[in-house]
């Protein structure tokens, strides 16, 4: 292009007409200056890269750390045998506040505080936090906001913003658009839809998906899944690669436990507790009232509960402690009882001790002297070893001297001459002591072991007690053998007693008690089925038949101690128990009844233990028989067992009250013990 110009026009008075050579030169200078500036900028770019390039590269990479996120998994559900959900995990959100984002502009603060307030967060608390921590970008303002609440909040804000944009609200006056620095972090929280139902069986799971007590603890790893991860990494070419590993949700448990039976049991235990609350002394109706319902022919736990109950949704709510016995330094119960006032002033060291007592599952964790419920075991050991004959007779004068001790019978006046069966029926201690003598220490301790006393049954629940230190060996004193024969001076747990008892009446099959039937994956596929497992053969069918015969007499016999346990319309068997607690002579007892039904073909066993009923005269097994009767009266029809026995008018009225009269089939031929379904 030619730089020479055609001269045209003149520089007239009206102003400049031409872009002169000197101007072109100055324009070139200007261009040169611009070039110079560009050069300086280029050098600056080069220097930044040369001097700080490495550091800045690392800075950029280190800032990417936030890309490393954990994706929470969902802990598995716990369902009863019918699929009723007992424990579930819900998607919840933590509300996170970012002070820095809020403080970007003055107009953000108030609308954001309004928004937080609508989520139920105290605005003054947040205002104070933001003032004190202006640079904070992560503050958990609220935990466990429900999915629904979050959704409603987001919809409200979105609608608000749309409205503001539509109405052209000035920026400074916008309520919704100026909400800044609130975000939500998702997670799961454990939820027990039925509250107290099966609380000690389930246990609970708090933050971090760590199960405490019960199934939640025992099956913690099964229930937990594997957290996912979303992260970025850099490949060789420094390219950012995003990778997401989805979370694997935990597995579900399907129990043998039936929520309906469980709620019947808990209803009756609560009713007992209510009835006897504050009667003899301020406090609960008993220290513990506990019950196990078990399938005799499989070891399936159908229900398991013990008062006091607690709500696993709020396991640390101290209000549940009111009425529990005070604990001494060794965590043993004393005669004092907790009041509301005690709870208000409870020290931080005491709180976990009492809460542990509240959460503990009496049915498997507490060992106690079983008392006369041990008598069928002694007789079974005698019959099985042949040392006790079915036709032998014992004379009971009301006491027996063993070595230098005078040991009294249940009946202080003496039972007179009794057969083996009558000894069980009337719960005669003297006859049992004599039988134990016949059996001998060696055989007796051998059978204690066969019946698994003192050993863990292997039930799939956390914290099962092992009590073998409380069980005597063959070097024991004669008085020890004599008292062990009727269930004193050795300790067992409820689960040990009922598991052994089931084997006595079902033909000698000792089933491992269990509570989980199936493990299923998050999408419902069965991963594992737990079949009933026979651990050992305790007694022969012949012995078993005799024990059934004797224990039916406990309920039906003329001198039977368990008469009051019989539910209207049914034949049952069972054995009462009344055990003195330590120290002897304090007039405190653990009373119990271990029953089964139907009598001829036992299907379910119900064991109720009442630890120190709140009454002046505690040595009365009818506390327990009444509870068993109430439970059986409702559970047997529920399970589909036909009534086989005629009912009296009074009983019929009672059935009507319970709404169970329809299950009484009256004079129809009793097609015995067949389940309806």
């Amino acid at each position: 292009m030619s730089r020479s110009r055609v001269v045209k026009g003149k520089n007239t008075r009206g102003g400049l007409k031409r872009f002169t050579i000197s101007m072109q030169r100055k324009l070139a200078v200007l261009f040169g200056l611009v070039l110079l500036a560009f050069t300086v900028l280029g050098i600056r770019l080069f220097l930044i890269n040369r001097d700080n390039g490495q550091i800045y590269k690392m800075q950029v990479l280190s800032q990417q750390a936030y890309e490393n996120q954990t994706i929470p998994y969902k802990r598995g559900k716990i369902m009863d045998c019918k699929g009723t959900v007992l424990a579930d995990s819900q998607l919840v959100y933590n509300v996170i506040v970012d002070s820095k984002a809020i403080l970007q502009k003055d107009v953000y603060l108030e609308p954001t505080l309004d928004a937080l307030e609508s989520l139920g967060i105290n605005r003054d608390r947040i205002r104070e936090f933001i003032t004190n921590h202006p640079a904070s970008q992560y503050y958990i303002a609220l935990k466990n906001l429900s999915y629904q609440n979050r959704k409603e909040y987001l919809e409200k804000v979105e609608a608000g913003i749309a409205q503001e944009v539509k109405n052209k609200v000035p920026a400074a006056e916008r309520r919704y658009s100026n909400i800044k620095g609130i975000w939500f972090e998702s997670g799961y929280s454990r939820f027990y839809p039925h509250g107290e139902l099966a609380c000690t069986v389930l246990g609970f799971s708090g933050s971090g998906n760590v199960g405490t007590c019960g199934l939640e603890e025992y099956y913690n790893d099964t229930l937990n899944g594997i957290a996912g991860r979303r992260y970025g990494y850099l490949d060789e070419g420094l390219n950012m690669e995003q990778t997401t590993i989805e979370a694997t949700d935990g597995n579900n448990l399907v129990l043998t436990l039936d929520a309906n039976i469980q709620s019947i049991v808990q209803k009756h235990l609560s009713a007992f507790d209510e009835e006897w609350k504050n009667v003899d002394h301020p406090g609960n109706g008993s220290n513990n009232t506990a019950c196990i319902v078990m399938d005799v022919n499989s070891g399936d736990i159908l229900a398991m509960a013990g008062t006091p109950f607690y709500n696993p949704n709020q396991p640390s709510d101290l209000a549940a402690l009111v009425g529990m016995p005070k604990l001494d330094a060794t965590d043993s119960p004393t005669d004092g009882y907790l009041t509301y006032k005690d709870i208000l002033v409870m020290s931080d060291e005491d709180k976990p001790r009492y809460l542990n007592a509240l959460w503990s599952n009496f049915c498997i964790s507490e060992a106690f002297e079983p008392g006369s419920t041990a008598k069928p075991f002694t007789v079974a050991a005698g019959l099985e070893t042949g040392t006790v004959k079915t036709d032998e007779l014992h004379f009971c004068p009301g006491y027996k001297y063993v070595d230098e001790f005078e040991i009294k019978c249940h009946n202080r006046d003496g039972d007179g001459w009794v057969t083996v069966g009558q000894a069980i029926e009337s719960s005669c201690n003297v006859a049992l002591m004599e039988m134990a003598e016949e059996i001998g220490k060696e055989n007796f301790t051998k059978f204690q072991n066969i019946f698994n006393f003192g050993l863990r049954t292997g039930i799939d629940l956390a914290d099962e007690a092992r009590t073998d230190s409380f069980v005597s060996d063959s070097t024991m004193a004669n008085s020890m053998l004599a008292t062990n024969a009727f269930g004193q001076n050795f300790d067992a747990t409820m689960i040990q007693m009922i598991s052994g008892f089931c084997s006595l009446i079902n033909g000698g099959n000792y089933y491992e008690p269990h509570i989980v039937r199936k493990v299923t994956s998050a999408n419902g596929t069965t991963l594992k089925t737990i079949e009933p497992r026979v651990l050992k053969k305790t007694v022969s069918e012949k012995t078993s038949e005799k024990i059934r015969e004797y224990t039916i007499q406990v309920v039906e016999g003329r001198h039977g101690t368990g008469e009051t346990a019989r539910p209207a319309g049914y034949r049952i068997g069972g054995k009462t128990g009344t055990a003195e607690t330590y120290p002897r002579g304090n007039n405190e007892y653990i009373v119990s009844f271990m029953g089964y039904a139907p009598a001829e073909d036992p299907q379910i066993a119900v064991y109720v233990v009442i630890d120190r009923p709140n009454y002046e005269y505690q040595d009365d097994a009818t506390f327990a028989t009444a509870v068993v009767r109430g439970i059986m009266q409702e559970v047997l029809p529920y399970m589909g067992f036909y009534m086989t026995e005629p009912v009296t008018d009074d009983e019929y009225e009672e059935l009507e009250e319970l709404g169970l009269a329809v299950t009484y089939t009256g004079d129809e031929s009793p097609d015995k013990w067949e389940k309806k379904d």
Partner: protein, 397 residues
């Protein structure tokens, strides 16, 4: 439609032949396309986050602005530039009026009231962009009218400066937009530098401005209470030591430096920036050059600067060969405008001057700046038509 408009002007202002300056058009289209590619790369992450996965939100809008801007450019290029001389006072008054309109009708974006909503259109107008072109048109006319002798005097410098200063003060005080005010003054300063025959006063003024700048910085640094000086005082402190203010005013700067420094010679590759993933907020606006450095490296950054040099070189050619002084002055105004904006923008992202919001022509997101930038190119193309006629005349058409 375009041809009928051209026909109208042909009838009105005589039959002006002339050719389109294809070299300039090519450079402009290249920069626009390159700008759109980079805008998409830089903005897609933030757009996807803010507009529910719509990664192309900013790109789509910018493409629409660009298409309309090109139509505007074509239209303006068909208007003989002498038309602007006739309407220069009117254009200036209109741009002043628009700034005043911000007071009642202004719309706040990011805390600054700099935009006017255009009824019926999903976009806003930034009066500052109108003011820049208005000042160029008016100043070119004033300088032409003053004449050579007057330009040699101080009066010849001060007089054309007055309308520019009025607009600058208005932009500063009404729209709180100091950077646009500086640009407006710099444009006229550049035009006068070319028009006035001497150097003395420009060197003197540059020296005074430099000394004043140093004094202000010295005052801010040694002042105990920086809070009373508002955000600009803090920006100066953040400029001097961005690490110290990395949590506040220095955040954007330090993140931009990280982006530039981590790019290396050839960058991380198109689309591979990590700093755009939320670390440099609104990177598609003022800080786009830092992401370009990160993705394309020094090579890409200097290539872009060379494209701007080429553009300015072509402008200079057009000015040198313009039909008359007024046309040349218009082009000089556009040269000043674009070079000042490019220099200030890159100076900000490299932390050579305190952080102030200056967009990078052809690259930064924004409707107003594309429209008026392309209008200015249209004016230059119009001047270039005259040039080509001269060229043809020279060879005896």
């Amino acid at each position: 439609m375009v041809s009928s408009i051209a026909g109208f002007f042909k009838r009105k202002f005589g039959n002006r032949r002339g050719l389109l300056d294809y070299s300039l058009l090519f450079i402009v289209l290249f920069l626009l396309s390159f700008g759109l590619v980079m805008l998409y790369s830089v903005s897609s992450y933030e757009a996807a986050v803010e507009y529910k996965g719509d990664a192309a939100y900013y790109l789509r809008r910018q493409m629409v602005f660009t298409v309309f801007g090109l139509i505007l450019m074509a239209g303006v290029s068909l208007i003989p530039y002498t038309f602007w001389k006739k309407v220069s006072v009117l254009a200036y008054l209109m741009s002043v009026g628009l700034i005043v309109l911000v007071i009642p009708f202004g719309m706040e974006v990011n805390g600054a009231k700099r935009w006017i909503r255009i009824p019926g259109l999903p976009m806003q107008l930034q009066p500052a962009e109108v003011a820049k072109i208005g000042v160029i048109i008016l100043s070119a006319m004033i300088v032409e009218k003053l004449g050579r002798r007057a330009l040699a005097t101080m009066r010849g410098f001060v007089f054309p400066m007055i309308p520019a200063l009025i607009v600058a003060v208005m932009l500063w005080k009404i729209t709180d937009n100091l950077s646009s005010a500086i640009i407006v003054v710099a444009i006229v300063f550049g035009m006068l530098f070319v028009a006035c025959p001497d150097y003395g006063k420009f060197i003197a003024i540059a020296a005074v401005v430099a000394v004043a700048g140093v004094a202000i910085v010295w005052y801010i640094v040694n002042s105990a209470d920086t809070g009373s000086m508002g955000f600009r005082g803090e920006r100066v402190l953040a400029w001097l030591d961005p690490q110290q203010y990395a949590g506040g005013k220095g955040y954007q700067t330090i993140q931009a430096l990280y982006a530039i420094g981590s790019g290396g010679v050839f960058g991380k590759g198109l689309g591979q920036s990590m700093q755009k993933l939320g670390f440099i907020p609104e990177a598609q606006n003022d800080m786009i050059f830092s992401i370009i450095c990160e993705e394309l490296g020094l090579f890409g950054a200097i290539s872009i600067m060379l494209m701007f040099v080429l553009l300015l070189w072509r402008f200079m050619m057009i000015a040198d060969n313009a039909d008359d002084f007024y046309g040349a002055m218009l082009v000089v105004g556009v040269i000043s405008h674009i070079s000042v904006q490019v220099i200030l923008n890159i100076a900000v992202v490299t932390n050579m001057i305190p952080n102030t919001g200056v967009t990078l022509p052809f690259f930064s997101y924004g409707g107003s700046s594309v429209f008026f930038l392309l209008s200015e190119i249209g004016i230059v193309l119009s001047v270039a038509r005259g040039m080509s006629r001269n060229e043809l005349a020279k060879y005896g058409e």
